[in-house]
């Protein structure tokens, strides 16, 4: 009886693993098969000359270039806001905060990390409408609002990764600097933060990935189908994930659909690059720590 059960568990586990691998293979195979033929400079720049487009001299009308630029702007702005605040908060919580504050903040950040991204998008949307009604009528959903909302979305991840990376440093590293006469701040800047750097960086890359791929937030806060390259923080913009969403329910002909597959591949490519970066950094750390058995 026991042996039967053990055998059943083995068969079940392997069957599920193989099923998962088949699903992923089908999924990626389908995407590559449909997307690769449309990849080319046509897809990104349309009929505009690439060099002209990159130097912002000519507008791209039928390519993905504005969407890619929009996504890059979005990532730079939102991580630019979230990273300094997030890392400083993480340092405070790991090094300075009392146990009570640690507990309370751990609770709030856990809750914020679990809140659906669309709710954060709604928050940003309402912020934009509020400002529009009460302060400045030109104001509406725009690049700035999206960037702030995305920063709120990734903030808890950055705080938590900073906090855990500092807290999980072995005690002897913490004591060495102090024993040699460093004060708390020197110890932090010259010893603890450099030691925690790999973990910190992989947390940041994860945050970049989330900013690049999230669609729910930008759906409500100012991404539109055609806007060109955003001229200011207060203008609407295009973004890759939004373009994919738009194509999936508004496409009118085959070539638009093909450009949707192409956009999927580009977005996936960005995520693969980020994944390889994080994984390269984390591999040494995590795998050995967690899965060494």
């Amino acid at each position: 009886m026991r042996e039967m059960l053990e055998k059943a568990v083995i068969i079940f586990s392997w069957a599920m693993t193989i099923l998962l691998v088949i699903i992923v293979a089908t999924f990626l195979g389908y995407l590559l098969m449909k997307g690769i033929p449309s990849i080319g400079s046509e897809l990104i720049f349309g009929s505009t000359a690439p060099l002209e487009a990159i130097r912002m001299k000519a507008r791209v009308f039928d390519g993905l270039f504005p969407a890619i630029v929009g996504t890059v702007y979005l990532v730079i702005l939102s991580t630019g806001m979230a990273i300094p605040i997030g890392i400083c908060s993480g340092i405070y919580l790991a090094e300075y905060a009392s146990p009570g504050i640690k507990h309370l903040s751990g609770l709030t950040f856990d809750i914020l990390a679990g809140v659906p991204s669309i709710v954060i998008g709604l928050f940003g949307f309402c912020g934009a409408v509020f400002l529009h009604h009460h302060f400045y009528h030109e104001f509406g959903p725009c690049l700035l609002i999206s960037a702030i909302s995305l920063a709120i979305l990734v903030l808890p991840y950055i705080v938590k990764s900073t906090q855990t990376s500092l807290e999980s440093l072995p005690p002897f590293i913490r004591k060495t600097g102090i024993a040699l006469g460093a004060n708390k701040l020197q110890n932090l800047i010259y010893i603890l933060i450099p030691q925690a750097m790999p973990c910190l960086i992989s947390g940041i890359i994860l945050a970049i990935g989330r900013c690049a791929e999230d669609t729910a937030v930008i759906l409500l806060t100012g991404a539109v189908a055609t806007a060109g390259i955003p001229s200011s923080l207060l203008s609407q913009y295009e973004a890759l994930p939004f373009y994919i969403y738009y194509i999936s329910n508004q496409y009118t002909n085959q070539s638009e659909l093909n450009s949707g597959y192409g956009a999927c591949l580009i977005l996936l490519g960005i995520c693969v690059v980020l994944f390889i970066l994080t994984f390269g950094i984390q591999k040494q750390l995590n795998y050995r720590m967690l899965y060494r058995r």
Binding site: S105, L112, S117, L122, V129, L220, F279, R293
Partner: protein, 286 residues
Amino acid sequence: MIDSKEKIAKILFASCALISIIITLSILIFMIVLGLPLFKQDHLFSVWSEQWIPHQGMYGILPMIAGTLWIAFPATALSFPLSLGTSFVMIGLGNRRIRQSLYVLIRFMTGIPTIIYGFVGIFLLVPLIRESLGGAGMCVLAAVIVLSVMISPAMILFFSDALASVNPHYVKTARALGATRVQCLMYVLVPESIGGIISGFILAFGRAIGDTLIALMLAGNAIQIPWNVLDPARTMTAHIALVNAADFDSLAFRSIFACGITLYLLTAIATLFVRYLVQIKEFKSE
């Protein structure tokens, strides 16, 4: 001099932490303030229990709650065996090379954008369902299948983290006593990490509830309570995503905040429950 630097640094760090905490709380407060009119006019419970019949002035979000549960729960349940089996192989059963390559694959899957799962779902799965099972294709079933694949990598990582955090001495002891890999897994690892597995399930359920794009793209978005897996449905998240900014003060618009508050509360409860489980575990191990 050094003292003042220390003080400045501490103040800087503390103010950043304060800003972060204020942002978190302000989201809840904002939602409550904007949703308040809904609760004032004797709508307190009717918002959650009423149907959506605009021409009778009924703007209940019951169909959206039903849609969310109809999609999130089956997706998590479907993903559970898939994730459990895979995490067993990844932690206990496979040899070293298989475990490592599975780990890489799963980590890669967590990085695939949701929108891409949705896109492939629309053009690969929806036509398949339409042709083999009939109906419009955009239905609960399509969203459930894609969502279950989407949340499985996260669930696998939750499970394997739980399994891997069992005290290695127990494993070594069991192996030294002659237990095979599967015996070690079934009689040592799983019973020891049952709390972690429950937390993983709840966290994955929270993600399934919070997901917007897959339901928005695949479930059809009709405002009705689904009775059949081939019916279309609208989740709370999709309801928010389909907001129409033109009528900011209408009751229909206010229903969006009811959805927002409900989602916030549901995910907060899930988070609190998981934290509670973790605390119990820590208490026991002390």
